[in-house]
């Protein structure tokens, strides 16, 4: 498999696989319930019973982080799927068809891009009330114009290629041409943007949760754990720090994956001896 010759890609995949296993197996590998409070044992330092200590309600931090992986991965995957599918279609249509379709779309994209994505998400959460779905929709909406802008830019570079005209010359219809030749050749840069956007989505979810606008406590998310720990940064830094490290690991893993995909999706980079899966 050519993909796994790329070290960054390999590391990214391994990390994400581990995170995925943790997320799926959370009920079995978490030492205790992430919601169970133990008011007799609050803010405990790391011990054999609580490997990362407990928070101010005596909840096991490790268990909360393990369960938090689920929510973070859900957000990442859902945001990526939503913003990628929407943004790609919008960007491809705008770039490929041009004319007034493009002008209208580009204006809307520019207006949306002018808002900081986080503010857009904040506004939507404020309007809809906070829940996991709202967070996902809000972050995905903030990212869709970015994906669309990149997609349009890439499609504009693909459109004048001779093979596009050659496909018209054999009588290929516009839609078939768009989805058979233009979109596949536009994918690499867009996939990179999408993986980065997944990483940023996790950050955005953590940020919103930290502000109390994301997934509501006591649900275990990494952002909530950081928020819980912030009052005790001086005495118990491990609470916020361990959640921060979780976020960093997932963001790095997604970025490595994006870089690896960018490099390996380019057919010129394929070094195999001819037959490629």
């Amino acid at each position: 498999m050519r993909y796994f010759r790329h070290p960054g890609f390999l590391i990214g995949v391994i990390l994400l696989t581990l995170l995925l296993i943790v997320a799926v197996a959370a009920p079995w590998i978490a030492p205790m319930s992430p919601l169970e409070t133990d008011l007799a044992n609050t803010l405990a330092p790391p011990s054999a019973a609580h490997l990362l200590g407990t928070d101010q309600f005596g909840r096991d931090v490790l268990s909360r982080l393990i369960w938090g992986t689920r929510i973070s991965l859900q957000v990442a995957v859902a945001v990526m799927a939503l913003s990628l599918s929407l943004g790609m279609v919008i960007g491809a249509v705008a770039g490929f068809f041009g004319g007034w379709v493009e002008r209208v779309t580009v204006s809307i994209i520019d207006i949306l891009l002018a808002f900081p994505g986080f503010l857009l998400a904040l506004a939507l959460v404020a309007a809809r009330g906070s829940s996991l779905e709202t967070v996902i929709i809000a972050v995905a909406l903030a990212f869709t114009p970015r994906v669309a802008a990149v997609m349009r830019a890439v499609v504009l570079t693909i459109k004048p290629r001779t093979y596009v005209e050659a496909s018209r010359a054999i009588g290929m219809g516009t839609m078939r041409l768009l989805f058979l030749h233009v979109v596949p050749n536009s994918l690499p840069p867009v996939i990179v943007v999408a993986t980065v956007s997944a990483a940023t989505a996790i950050l955005a979810e953590a940020g919103l949760s930290f502000l109390g606008l994301g997934v509501q406590p006591p649900a275990p998310t990494w952002g909530n754990v950081i928020a819980d720990g912030q009052s005790f940064l001086a005495s118990n830094p491990l609470i916020s720090l361990s959640a921060g490290i979780c976020i960093a690991v997932m963001v790095v893993a997604l970025n490595l994956l994006g870089d690896g995909l960018r490099d390996t999706l380019d057919p010129q980079m394929r070094r195999s001896s001819g037959r490629v899966l």
Binding site: T162, A166, S167, A169, G171, P267, Q268, V276
Partner: protein
């Protein structure tokens, strides 16, 4: 005209085809000037014939080639394939028309999708036209062998092939639908000289075997000489000369053709050293700002010679003295010496040939040309 009823219709016919490109104005920019890339061109290609189409960059020859496939829609004029008018036909009929007329592109690197195996690329026309069936793989292998490619390499990607091989792939792809006409848009310009000969031989062999008609577009007169039966010379969107191949090289009528001949590279060193004449012309004029009268007059040596010789009404234009006719009247394409046509007020007929044209013809000599059977 009397024999049009009995003779088979030409494979391809363009009647007064015109294509005007305009740049639409935006909020802050003015609308661009109209560019008449192809300006009232009529030509026919008979079955099994190669028509060479020659002109500099910007002469509109590539646009004309695309008009023939309706890759670019004509602004006005008509397009007939096999005697059938396909100018305004529906999408479905267009689809059928595309089976008869295919194109080979100049850039062998860019004309193939890098993510698609060459076998799939060659099969694609069949799939698009709903002709893919159990025989499909055999058909693909068939055209691959025809163009000299090993069918066992069908599952490879374009970047694994050389430029010449990719051009063979492009030709194979154009042949899958078994068309009657191929538009060849500078098919060898991007290739090494040694590969050019191979591709040209291949094209000629295919033409003989399948009775194809070619519209062979080139930017100089060197390559078309070997492949064409007739040659049309284009300048700023208009055909200025249309002649039988040998006539064009032995008695070029239009001063522009003479200028192009003066630029033909000469392979024979002794001949090349004897070359005395070069006709300097400067850059091609702008298609957005076509000069009045004959559009070639700003670059025409002949107009200056004719004016200097006297005997015609003349007028100053810039620092040159030119015949008034060249400045005012746009010459139409008219018969001049048999079937050959020229659009010039003072063509270089054998009787009136200028010393410039004589010298150019002596320079290039009459190297023997392999005859191509029609």
């Amino acid at each position: 005209m009397s024999d049009t009823l009995s003779a088979p219709p030409p494979a391809l016919e363009l009647v007064d085809a015109t294509r005007v490109f305009t740049r639409r104005g935006g909020l802050f920019k003015k609308a661009g000037k109209a560019v008449r890339a192809v300006d009232g061109v009529s030509l026919t290609i008979r079955a099994g014939e190669t028509l060479g189409l020659v002109g500099e960059s910007g002469s509109g020859k590539s646009t004309l080639g695309r008009l023939a496939l309706r890759l670019v829609e004509p602004t006005s004029g008509r397009l007939l394939v096999d005697g059938r008018d396909v100018t305004g036909v529906s999408k479905a009929e267009m689809q059928a028309m595309r089976r008869d007329i295919q194109m080979v592109f100049q850039d062998p690197y860019g004309s193939l999708d890098p993510r698609v195996t060459i076998g799939q690329s060659i099969a694609e026309p069949l799939k698009v036209h709903g002709l893919w069936d159990g025989d499909g793989p055999q058909k693909v292998a068939g055209v691959m062998s025809l163009v000299g490619l090993d069918p066992s390499r069908a599952d490879r990607y374009p970047h694994q092939f050389s430029g010449g091989q990719r051009q063979r792939i492009g030709i194979a792809r154009a042949l899958t639908l078994d068309p009657k006409i191929l538009v060849l848009d500078e098919p060898v310009s991007a290739l090494d000289v040694s590969i050019q000969a191979q591709i040209i031989n291949l094209l000629q062999r295919i033409q003989r075997e399948r009775g194809l008609s070619y519209l062979f577009i080139a930017h100089d007169l060197a390559v078309v000489r070997h492949v064409s039966h007739r040659i049309a010379v284009m300048y700023l969107g208009k055909v200025v000369e249309m002649a039988e191949r040998d006539n064009l090289y032995r008695r070029p009528l239009h001063p522009y053709t003479v200028s192009l001949l003066a630029a033909v590279p000469i392979a024979d060193v002794r001949m090349r050293n004897r070359r005395r004449t070069s006709v300097t012309m400067g850059e091609i004029g702008s298609a957005t700002n076509v000069p009045p009268g004959c559009r070639f007059h700003p670059r025409c040596y002949r107009a200056r010679l004719v004016a200097a010789a006297g005997g015609v009404p003349t007028e100053r234009s810039g620092d040159a003295l030119l015949p008034r006719a060249c400045l005012i009247d746009q010459p139409e394409l008219r018969a001049c010496g048999g079937a050959d046509q020229v659009a010039c007020h003072f063509p270089e007929t054998p009787e009136t040939r200028s010393e410039v044209a004589t010298a150019v013809l002596q320079d290039i000599g009459y190297p023997p040309i392999r005859p191509i059977p029609l």
